[in-house]
Symmetry: C2
Subunit: 499 residues, 2 copies
């Protein structure tokens, strides 16, 4: 085979696969934001047909040979193509190494598990879900061994979700988090709690929609490249740097809920809108990893969006929009209210301070499950024990405990840590940024675009060309160091609660 011919074949395939991914992505966005409820059956049929088609395009001997040929000639490829080949190999590593019938069986089990988990959660009936969790753990341990026989299975999955981050890094990371945050949260629990009742007055949805527009404007998001939709559980998706979609959910009696969804998802979108133009049409558009994506969304949500400077910037407008609801409330009151820290049961509703402890619980349980050190039957008791120990809360039922997240039912083990890593990356990036910029002053002056430009130059433009650890090196000039995150949280919340 000629190298030119092989590259053309490979690029044509990327283009074709992108067309299917684009269509499936738009359909997913549509079903979550716009489609009527009963559309789901028809969608499932079309998505199943497309999944089969794309599977057949990728998983076949001819394609394996093509990728192996390109891998052998990696030295002759430009950087983008080389990374595209690497990513394609990475994506197929598992599928090339597991027996087809086991994979088919896994898909069947996983699909059933998702449906059973849903019922189990609604009825808070862990026993219903337990046999499926057991099967999914077994599959994932076995699959890890097929793909990487010499690797610890949990390390394999951790590395799949966040390349370079295995248990040796994460054990140290979470040990530091635990040591610093558990006592800090305990001390805050003894202080007087911050008043936030005014955030839960009645805020009409149509006015909140206008607030979303304003926040996107403040963030410098070009609406010609990024739309906003409404959904049950906010998410962001995108099809190229000129077509991003953020979503939010409006609650009439919770002003900060949609406000911070918009800023968080706006951060995800800002990342992808900042990809360099050369990534358009490549398979490297988007973000480097889940953790790096989360670092950007949380940077805008917490580090910027929950800063005193940001509240001082936006509060006058918010007060103008809701003069009755915010009567007598000062900018400082608002700042404190949106930063109120309080141990709670649900990860997705956790505040900035306690969030990583929710993740830690999941990390410890996954680790034991993957090593056969915890029976799936004992997950609820272990979960409840850890929530009591780390967060001091009593879990009243499994619906608000170990059944709350969908990840395990989808067969994802090792994904959770990236949520927490994102925040830690963010704090480290902030530290590096401060050597060159004064983010607080810029935010106060409404110049968030200068901060975004810095992030684009150091992170966003690379898409998936660089791996997470490489990006940290580019942006910060050093290796991952969770100390910045611990210090950031300790400083911020000590000041806030007068410790």
């Amino acid at each position: 085979m000629e190298i030119t011919e092989a590259v053309k074949k490979f690029k044509d395939q990327i283009k074709l696969l992108h067309a299917y991914e684009h269509a499936m992505g738009v359909m997913y966005y549509d079903i979550e934001t716009a489609a009527p409820k009963n559309a789901i059956a028809g969608f499932s049929d079309t998505l199943a047909a497309f999944s089969e088609i794309t599977y057949n395009i990728s998983v076949n001997e001819e394609n394996f040979k093509l990728l192996d040929f390109l891998t052998e000639h990696a030295g002759e490829l430009d950087e983008i193509t080389r990374r595209e080949v690497e990513e394609a190999q990475r994506g197929l590593k598992l599928l090339r190494n597991i027996p087809v019938d086991e994979f088919v069986e896994y898909q069947r089990v996983q699909s059933e598990a998702s449906s059973v988990w849903h019922d189990a959660k609604v009825n808070s009936d862990y026993a219903l879900f337990e046999p499926y969790l057991k099967k999914l753990v077994d599959f994932n341990v076995r699959f890890a061994k097929y793909a990487a026989p010499d690797m610890d299975p949990y390390d394999y999955w951790l590395n799949e979700f966040e390349e370079g981050f295995t248990q040796d890094v994460l054990d140290k990371y979470f040990a530091g988090i635990k040591a610093a945050l558990v006592p800090l949260i305990h001390r805050i629990g003894e202080k007087e709690q911050i008043e936030n009742g005014f955030l839960h007055k009645n805020y009409p949805v149509w006015k909140q929609r206008e607030l979303s527009d304003y926040l996107m404007e403040v963030m410098g998001i070009d609406r010609a490249d990024c739309a906003i939709g409404e959904t049950e559980h906010p998410f962001t998706t995108g099809f190229n740097k000129h077509d991003l979609r953020i979503t939010t959910h409006y609650y009439e009696n919770a002003l900060e809920s949609s406000m911070y969804s918009v800023i968080h998802e706006g951060g995800h979108a800002t990342y992808e809108m900042g990809n360099s133009d050369e990534l358009i049409g490549s398979s490297l558009a988007g973000g480097a990893s889940c953790g790096m994506h989360e670092s950007q969304s949380r940077f805008y949500e917490n580090i910027i969006g929950r800063s005193r400077a940001f509240i001082e910037l936006v509060f006058p407008k918010i007060k103008e929009m809701f003069p009755d609801e915010l009567k007598g409330v000062s900018s400082e009151d608002f700042y404190c209210a949106v930063n109120r820290a309080e141990p709670s049961l649900i990860r997705t509703e956790a505040d900035e301070l306690t969030y990583s402890l929710h993740v830690l619980v999941r990390y410890e349980i996954e680790k034991k499950l993957m090593h056969g050190e915890l029976d799936t039957k004992d997950v609820p008791s272990e979960w409840n024990r850890l929530y009591k120990e780390y967060l001091g809360v009593d879990v009243p039922c499994d619906r608000e405990g170990c059944l709350q997240d969908s990840h395990w039912s989808g067969g994802s083990f090792g994904y959770f840590p990236s949520y927490s890593l994102g925040s830690a990356y963010g704090a480290q990036i902030l530290h590096a940024m401060k050597k060159e910029l004064d983010p607080d002053r810029l935010v106060r002056e409404g110049k968030i675009s200068v901060i975004t430009d810095w992030l684009r130059e150091h992170i966003h433009k690379y898409g998936r060309i660089k791996k997470p650890a490489e990006l940290l090196d580019i942006a910060c000039g050093e290796e991952f160091d969770p100390g910045y995150y611990v210090k950031y949280l300790t400083d911020k919340f000590s000041e806030l609660y007068g410790l």
Copy 2:
């Protein structure tokens, strides 16, 4: 080939094509309602890739043989499969008979023409568009001859859009319309005009959204099967009877605009939601023809929605929603205002009475173009002459004249008459319905569902199993008779204007 095997192959193909059509349909809906402006380039790429794939699935010798085999064995097929084969043959008739290179060239010209038409319209510059119109007319005459050598070319295209309706039917139809309506419109022009200023006060969009919800509820539209989106030019699309999408556009200073868009598009959706279950997954879901589809949307919009009974039903709620804007306005005032008839320039904004005369102008011009009796250079003068003659209005510029519609630039000649036929079908269907039901009483009592049940039983349930003329026979027990339409309009508007 075995018949069972051939049917299976054919059904698999329908399923596969449906998956692509579904995805392309959702993408179209998304780009028109939700996508950011700059998404268009990425969408074009994916839609082009899918168009090529679906073209290749249908247009090949193997498939032609399959369809011919099934056509020969039509007697052995069940009714649905037989009609599916017929429709597949119909869809390929042209593609099987024209030289591939001519088709490719046509697509290129058509794509350019659409873009040039857009610029020509914006600049009101007919000369820019004229060479493209000439080419498109030539192509369409030639293509008609390839597909049906013995047929008049305009008859060929008319029959493509509305089976069974060729010039002999339409000449008589439009002659009747012209004879009755032109003098009626003239007499109305001499009467005092109806006051409708209150419809153009300020109606906040968020309140109009609530009105849409109310109107859909009154129509009995199940929101689990039908969503509503917002777009520039309202349309309806659907992917199966459990997934319809209507759209509307809100103008703050034109209450009736979105109100009647919702009812009109809701009528289209009601048609498809009424398909029988056996059509799910077949290629016969949807409506029998453009004209029949339009008959249902206009039935709900005009015959029901602009009736005195309907206004009496909904006005109390509308007044409750807009008490200041509608202060001093009575139900009768509102009824008169939404029925105000006035000759105008733009077809899509025309009232119920004058609408068909707009269509007549296009019919006469298309007919002459297809027969070489009118030079494309002379379209504007002919257009302006006919508007003056039929509607009594002076066309100030081609943007508001012969450049207003996109149809010709898309290569559609013969489509316009179906818009008018829809209204005529509707009036004939109303006459038949009145033999069994009292629609006015039912509407006044809020029992629109009884009317919808009747329409479902006589029209909606059949989807495309029956052709338009067959449906008229089922619903009315007689052939197409435009007399009902003329009488309906004459009665309604004579009463309204006290003639």
